[in-house]
């Protein structure tokens, strides 16, 4: 594993590299280096993209994209992370390297509002039908307030209780 870390340090010049757990390496790079890094890992035998996801760091006004790749031969996970601007989040698609990224990117777009350049599907709705609010997994989205405004409580007296005889 140390050998792989040293190779990554030389090849990608990451901002930060650490081992959060056994058999796991976290690599933080600049957002414009994501595409090259993914291509590097793909070529190094990390053939599987396990997930593409996002974290909303609302205090820093940043979104952090996370790509997790796995090498079946080495048995090592890589978390590749990069922070992008929260107001205009844009990232280059990874579908040319990992075709399986297509729906993950679509999901991240739907739940965080990140635009993926080159993924023509990414803007289409997937899970949420007729969504009309900010992307729901962002931290400033309040599901309680949303459901209260969307589905207001009905005013009800206690007539319906007496109608069925009440709770005697």
């Amino acid at each position: 594993m140390n050998k792989i870390i040293n190779e990554i340090k030389i090849a990608l010049e990451p901002l930060k590299i650490e081992t959060p757990a056994l058999r796991q390496i976290a690599v933080v790079v600049k957002p414009d280096a994501i595409h090259n890094s993914l291509a590097y890992f793909r070529q190094k035998g990390f053939t599987q993209l396990s997930i593409v996801t996002c974290i909303d760091w609302i205090k820093e006004s940043e979104l952090e994209l996370v790509y997790i790749v796995l090498s079946w031969t080495e048995g090592i996970y890589i978390q590749l992370r990069a922070r992008i601007d929260r107001e205009k989040p844009v990232m280059v698609t990874a579908t040319d390297i990992f075709p399986g990224a297509r729906y993950y990117e679509r999901e991240v777009h739907e739940f965080f509002g990140v635009d993926f350049l080159g993924n023509e599907d990414a803007a289409k709705p997937l899970f949420l039908e007729l969504w009309d609010d900010i992307p729901p997994l962002r931290k400033d989205f309040d599901p309680q307030a949303y459901s209260d405004s969307k589905f207001p409580m009905r005013e009800r007296g206690n007539e319906f209780v007496s109608e069925f005889g009440g709770n005697k």
């Binding site: 599987q48 079946w72 996970y77 297509r102």
Partner: protein, 369 residues
């Protein structure tokens, strides 16, 4: 010929959960297919951010209905990675026992539900009845049949009941007798055989393209790509088991691999019971005082497990507070359930669509979350 749009699901006897596929058909050949998930979207990832670390234990098993234990395990494992908790020896073995019993259960269910798309409901009745007997064991273990909430951060909730291992072993003996009967009934049945043999192919290059894991991957590539072998968790490095593989992946091969994996599960369970220490603690207290006020050190970690359908993982982010900052769920059936349906369902017959979903291992609740 005029193109017809056909909706398969969300309610359909052969459909797996509330999932829908919009198919554009020409005759009975699918020309184009569009997966339409979201019917089971309950916003788990958002809900988890609004609950305490311990409170989430009641929520997470519901992400994957047929196999809830993997959720508990990846969640507990992720927290243990972040907080540096050492799990007691016995708890590891009990966890393996639970995971393998769950795996047998899911394979039975999956084999049985082949009856839906093929119209042979006897298979369903037999296999689900057998699964129910395993659920009885779970009920004895933790009081719940489907959602167990038994694996918790720091170990397992309680020690095994007295005589439990004997009843598990008896069940395994029974299964060993019954599985050949199911094989006879399901895999050798002329209709199911004809429907699945050389049908619904999954070539190795498609596996790499989509990122399919689990039985789908192993049946096509012939490689032993199983997380239990590649990066052993719990005590999987101390038991001996084989990972069944094949190099020609049609639907029948994948069903066969499920059966062969069930035999391996039985063997693992016997070894686990044999090697499990009889004494010792089964959990370590993770917090002093109020468990709801318990905090997990800040960090980000990806915790994964080999489920019956492939790699299942949680990406857990903690900011050191009482609730998770973010948890992302990697459902094992995400690749084949979405991109797989869009790209590779076309060219099949309409009646093979639900067979496609069954043998590829598509579980809709874990796609929708």
């Amino acid at each position: 010929m005029k193109e017809v749009k056909l909706f398969l699901g969300p309610q359909h006897p052969g459909m797996h959960g509330n999932y829908s596929v919009h198919m554009y058909v020409d005759g009975d050949i699918i020309e184009k297919a569009r997966p339409t998930p979201g019917f089971l979207h309950r916003g788990f990832e958002k809900l988890m951010e609004r609950r305490h670390w311990m409170g989430n234990l009641a929520l997470i098993p519901r992400i994957c209905v047929p196999e809830p234990d993997i959720n508990e395990f990846v969640y507990a494992q992720g927290i243990e990675m972040l907080a540096g908790i050492e799990v007691p020896e016995k708890a590891h073995w009990i966890r393996m026992l639970v995971l393998e019993m769950a795996r047998v259960m899911v394979h039975l269910m999956s084999l049985g539900f082949i009856g839906g798309p093929t119209g042979m409901y006897t298979a369903t009745y037999w296999a689900i009845a057998q699964r129910d007997l395993i659920l009885d064991l779970f009920e004895e273990l933790c009081g719940a049949r489907v959602y167990h909430m038994y694996i918790v951060p720091g170990g397992v909730r309680k020690d095994l009941p007295e005589g439990f291992t004997d009843r598990v072993l008896a069940m395994m003996d029974e299964l060993e007798v019954k599985i050949p009967e199911y094989e006879e009934l399901i895999l050798k049945h002329p209709i199911i055989h004809a429907r699945t043999k050389d049908n619904i192919m999954l070539p190795a290059e498609v596996v790499w393209e989509l990122g399919v894991t689990g039985i789908g991957m192993r049946s096509a590539t012939g490689e032993e790509n199983d997380l239990r072998k590649v990066m052993p968790y719990a005590k999987y490095d101390q038991v001996e088991f084989e990972v069944p593989t094949a190099t020609y992946s049609d639907a029948l091969t994948r069903l066969n691999l499920k059966v062969r994996e069930m035999y391996q599960c039985i063997s693992i369970i016997r070894q686990v019971i044999d090697k499990m220490p009889s004494e010792g603690p089964v959990n370590v207290p993770v917090s002093t005082g109020n468990a709801l006020r318990w905090t997990v050190p800040a960090g980000m970690v990806y915790s994964a497990v080999e489920s019956s359908r492939g790699e299942y993982g949680y990406f857990i982010v903690s900011d050191g507070k009482e609730m998770p900052y973010r948890i992302a769920v990697r459902g094992a059936s995400f690749p084949q359930g979405l991109l797989g349906i869009e790209k590779y369902l076309k060219g099949h017959r309409i009646d093979d669509a639900s067979l496609w979903m069954d043998t590829m291992g598509v579980c809709s609740p874990e796609i929708d979350r």
